[in-house]
């Protein structure tokens, strides 16, 4: 019997194409007569453009056009909003007026025959401004805080003030996290080509079916007029969920010069042009009884947003559901600043919340002289206390027990500063990770051709987690054909419906649709065979027919059977196809579904020199069924490395005098390098959650970064006795 493809540690099906350069990324698409566009970005943080002198730039041979608010076409910018767009506000209307709203805003675009000419000419554009003083600092802003609607902005249950008054212990602390940039390896890029009134965009995007209607709305075109193609995405972490202004600029430029245009952002332009993880200040107050049962939780958060849009993260979700607490009060406020709009970044909302809550819990554990894992276990809820709904599955206890065993937690001396290794103080810490199981409506098309090969498609994306591979695994099992015979297609807005490739919802949603399509196609083929007098399966009970290795056969008599290929040829069909769907049903409202993790960190701290180095990182995940173990593991350790960056290094630094980002490049914005990433490992609880979705997964990508930073910060405390409440944990903060 052919082993199941799902659950097998297969390698990336597109790995060869990627490492040989055969995979085509957005910036690599070519078209006849293609020309290049380069953006000119504002060098003030607020004010007006008073003049643009393009004479020197236009004098360069090969410059075709320079567009700015002075000569750019007026665009309709029809209303358009998806779940990714901020619920309040309006996207930046690019080159539509002379206002500068943030430092690095696109204010002109140079179109030239070559990239070199366009870049050089862009540097020759002379812009004059009437500058105003921008306000870009969250901590000192006096702007009136904005209140997100509903439970996103305010939540309460019980009487938390009374709980704080009567508590045995209260921990009340403030936490600060700086702005981070996604910094995927691949730059954002768009190639735009018009044919009459229809537009094709080759774009870096996590959601082709949002980019297409969004750009159609911007240009006032029917949705069908825009097609978006994005077969490969070299990392995104949320930065490619929205269509940013440069996508509009590429399309505008292409239409203006009547030729295809390629626009690639520089690394520096990505810092202000593709969103970021908002800086957030938080306060947590925990009240507990003498047994470590939480009696109250206050969670207050203030995050930056732009003046023109109110980006919101689900910062308060963990306060509502993670632990059993009778009295909770939570509030989330947005502070409008003269900055570009932030966006979702891996583990949005829950990651900063977990840093604050899990740090405070660790502190409470020390005050109670209780093991930090024990404290968490004592506050395990029996159901979702914010809704009263049962959990579809919640195996956080097992995460802690298998994680603790593998990590060797029981060998830990809980006393701070108790372990030394030469100049290094050694410490260990834990934290909980949790992320909502998001699901969205999806469709997939499965097809078997007469040569026995299978093609399955859906308009999803593969920004790195291995969608091509994992969907091929699902299809391989569903159709009963070998992995090598399956081709999965994605990244084209003309393909069947898919939700955004974000929020860890792709496998739950698209995977369920792929499974449905393949089930239907397999059943249709079986129905054909058993009805066909010439088939060896003629007259068989369809329920008794199995398909393996592309061959349909009778379960009780495996020699009776035939291949898809033979069946289709005899039937004189070029192919068979079936459409599958997934629609989130009542289970979404009846059950509370989350992925969980227990994160363990070991750090070494050289107090004298201020060095903090992670020595070990281990997470144990309850993420439902693991479809593609090898790629899931790659996904997990990648998210955990992102957590190391958040804990120790990453910080987009703004010079608040003029709103300039001072480290907008990979030499100065530090992410972990190999030397910073020691032993990182992850475990996955066996099982599945078929209540959450038909394919039984709970999502993995997001939850892997949640909880890493507090586990590291808690380990630093264990090593040194010092509580670090601001991220990143810089050298000077432990000196």
């Amino acid at each position: 019997m052919t082993p199941s493809a799902v659950g097998a540690p297969v390698s990336r099906v597109d790995g060869h194409a990627k490492v040989t350069g055969a995979a085509t990324y957005a910036a690599e698409f070519e078209a006849p007569r293609l020309v290049h566009a380069v953006m000119v970005s504002s060098t003030i943080g607020l004010g007006r453009v008073t003049g643009i002198d393009t004479r020197a730039a236009r004098a360069q041979q090969g410059v075709l056009e320079i567009l700015s608010h002075l000569n750019a076409p007026e665009l309709p910018y029809r209303d358009f909003r998806t779940s990714i767009d901020p619920p309040v506000g309006e996207r930046l209307h690019v080159l539509q007026d002379n206002r500068v709203r943030f430092f690095g805003q696109p204010i002109a675009v140079v179109i030239a025959e070559t990239l070199e000419t366009a870049r050089h000419a862009a540097g020759l554009v002379e812009v004059t401004y009437a500058a105003e003083q921008p306000s870009t600092e969250l901590a000192t802003s006096r702007a009136r805080p904005l209140v997100p609607a509903g439970e996103q902005g305010n939540y309460s249950r019980g009487d938390v003030d009374a709980a704080l008054r009567t508590a045995h212990r209260v921990v009340d602390r403030k936490y600060r996290m700086v702005r981070e940039s996604h910094n995927p390896m691949e730059p954002h890029a768009t190639v735009a080509r018009w044919e009459g009134d229809t537009l094709t965009l080759w774009d870096k995007t996590q959601w082709v079916q949002s980019t297409a209607p969004q750009i159609a709305a911007v240009f006032g075109l029917p949705k069908s007029a825009v097609r978006v193609i994005s077969p490969y995405v070299g990392g995104a972490f949320g930065s490619a969920l929205r269509a940013w202004p440069h996508v509009t600029l590429a399309a505008m430029a292409a239409r203006h010069v009547g030729r295809p245009v390629k626009l690639v952002l520089t690394r520096k332009q990505m810092f202000s042009g593709t969103g970021y993880r908002a800086a957030v200040d938080q306060r947590i107050a925990l009240a507990s009884d003498r047994n470590g049962r939480l009696t109250g939780l206050v969670h207050e958060a203030r995050a930056e947003t732009s003046r023109y849009e109110q980006h919101q993260d689900a910062v308060l979700e963990l306060a509502r559901v993670l632990y059993s607490v009778p009295n909770v009060r939570a509030s989330y406020r947005l502070i409008p600043l003269d900055v570009p709009t932030p966006t979702f970044a891996r583990g949005p909302g829950r990651t900063p919340a977990a840093f604050a809550i899990e740090s405070a819990l660790d502190e409470l554990a020390y005050e109670l002289r209780m093991d930090p894992i024990e404290l968490r276990l004592r506050n395990e809820p029996a159901r979702d206390e914010s809704t009263g709904r049962p959990f579809s599955t919640r195996r956080l206890r097992e995460c802690f027990s298998v994680g603790a065993q593998k990590f060797g937690w029981e060998r830990r001396n809980p006393r701070v500063r108790s372990t030394r290794d030469g100049h290094w103080l050694i410490g260990t810490g834990v934290a909980t990770a949790c992320y909502h199981t998001l699901r969205g409506a999806a469709r997939a098309l499965a097809r078997i051709d007469a040569d026995g090969s299978a093609t399955v498609s859906s308009a999803t994306s593969d920004m790195g987690p291995g969608t091509y591979t994992s969907m091929s695994q699902v299809a391989s099992d569903g159709l009963g054909v070998a992995m090598s015979k399956v081709r999965f297609r994605l990244g084209d807005s003309h393909l069947p419906l898919a939700p955004s490739h974000g929020g860890s919802q792709t496998m739950a949603s698209v995977g369920s649709a792929v499974q449905d399509a393949c089930d239907k196609l397999r059943e249709a083929a079986i129905a054909l065979a058993v009805a066909d007098p010439q088939s060896p399966l003629h007259g068989a009970d369809p329920q008794q027919v199995r398909v393996r290795g592309g061959r349909l056969f009778l379960r009780s008599a495996p020699h009776r059977g035939e291949t898809y290929e033979r069946l289709l040829r005899r039937q004189r069909r070029t192919h068979l196809e079936a459409s599958g769907t997934y629609t989130p049903g009542e289970e979404v409202d009846r059950y509370s579904s989350y992925a969980y993790g227990a994160v363990f960190a070991e750090v070494a701290v050289d107090e004298s020199l201020g060095l903090v180095r992670v020595r070990r990182l281990l997470s144990a995940f309850d993420a439902g069924r693991i479809i593609s173990p090898k790629l899931a593991h790659s996904q997990a350790i990648g998210g955990m490395v992102g957590g190391i960056g958040m804990a120790l290094l990453e910080h987009s630094v703004t010079d608040h005098r003029d709103g300039r980002l001072v480290n907008a490049g990979m030499a100065d914005y530090l992410v972990p390098v190999n030397a910073d990433v020691p032993e990182v490992d992850a475990l996955y609880l066996n099982g599945e959650d078929k209540t959450a979705d038909p394919i039984g997964v709970k999502g993995l990508g997001e939850v892997t970064i949640v909880g890493v930073a507090p586990a590291i910060a808690n380990a630093v405390h264990h090593a040194t006795g010092r509580r670090v409440q601001n991220l990143p944990i810089t050298l000077e903060s432990v000196l």
């Binding site: 070199e116 050089h120 300039r660 030499a667 530090l670 030397a675 000196l735």
Partner: protein
């Protein structure tokens, strides 16, 4: 990047002729090309000097000679450098990344320009890039900037690790131009900003670095380099220390201490050396001597931590090289 002409020099004479006409020398290109892309550097003419016979590394009883075009990785891997001048090998291996070390030359390393991000951002004011425009870093974000050797005009830190080790070991730089050859100690070659931060080197128009000499001395074998930085690799120093000690019969006979990451040029610490000379090695001595490491420091808004970190860095490295940790 601004348009420029590109030529390749086959002989030293040809290179010097091109240099005399205003050509900028290109070796590894790891600094110049980056800065040209950002339009910080706008040479009209670039001369590739990689074909010149300046790659040799040789070690004799009188000292070490490193050709200006020797690659950082080759120098760091050279057996004589590793055994007789370990501070140089360590400084090189802690620099940049393996890829950059394979490309970057020794001469280019000494000519590399500051990592001050305002210097590298042509939309910011910078006296080094455009004299007279002001220093954005002075009251800007200056966590990585210098606390020693600064002026009102410039507070940019010197980025080279190698230069710190060379300074400690009294290296001399050999230069040639069509006017002839001359030699300058590293200590005099790199210039403090003063009121002319745009002048970074004692180098004349058209002059080419041909070699670096490091004199042999008893202390070079017992030398080492410590680099303290935010991440463990591929990052510039917040503080660093090159230490060389010759200890005989439990007495320090010679001491060389230079530090990096903290000053506008690699910074020698004569007061620390003086305290060490003739003393008996001890843990207390390292701390006492290092106490003088940050004398004269003037910290900025975000880098006040560097003075204490520097003292600790020096003390640690004295212990590592001199023992009695």
């Amino acid at each position: 990047m601004h348009p420029f002409s590109f030529t390749r020099a086959r002989t030293i004479d040809a290179a010097l002729a091109a240099g005399a006409r205003g050509g900028r020398y290109l070796a590894g290109g790891t600094t110049l090309v980056d800065l040209m892309r950002e339009t910080v550097e706008r040479p009209s003419s670039v001369v590739d000097i990689n074909d010149l016979p300046l790659h040799e590394i040789s070690s004799t009883s009188s000292g070490l000679r490193i050709g200006a075009l020797a690659r950082m990785s080759d120098v760091g891997a050279h057996p004589a450098v590793r055994t007789r001048y370990p501070a140089i090998a360590q400084a090189l291996e802690l620099s940049a990344s393996a890829q950059l070390r394979n490309a970057a030359s020794i001469g280019g390393n000494l000519m590399q320009r500051t990592r001050c991000t305002y210097f590298r951002d042509v939309s910011a004011s910078c006296n080094k890039r455009e004299p007279g425009t002001g220093c954005a870093a002075l009251h800007g974000h200056n966590r990585t900037h210098a606390i020693l050797g600064t002026s009102e005009a410039c507070v940019a830190a010197h980025p080279s690790d190698l230069a710190v080790a060379l300074l400690a070991l009294d290296a001399v730089i050999h230069l040639r131009s069509r006017a002839g050859a001359r030699s300058v100690p590293v200590a005099n070659f790199l210039l403090r900003p003063g009121t002319t931060p745009e002048r970074e080197h004692d180098i004349r128009p058209g002059e080419l670095i041909t070699a670096v000499d490091v004199p042999a001395a008893a202390h070079t074998r017992t030398s080492g380099y410590l680099k303290v930085r935010d991440r463990q690799s591929y990052e510039f120093a917040l503080t660093s220390a090159a230490v060389a000690l010759h200890i005989e019969e439990d007495v320090i006979r010679s001491a060389r201490v230079a530090v990096g990451g903290v000053a506008t040029v690699p910074w020698r610490l004569p007061a620390v050396e003086h305290r060490l000379l003739g003393a008996r090695p001890s843990r207390q001595l390292w701390v006492d001597a290092a106490a003088k490491a940050a004398d004269g420091a003037r910290s900025l808004r975000h880098n006040a931590f560097k003075a204490e970190l520097l003292r600790r860095t020096v003390a640690r490295q004295l212990g590592t090289v001199g023992g009695r940790k």
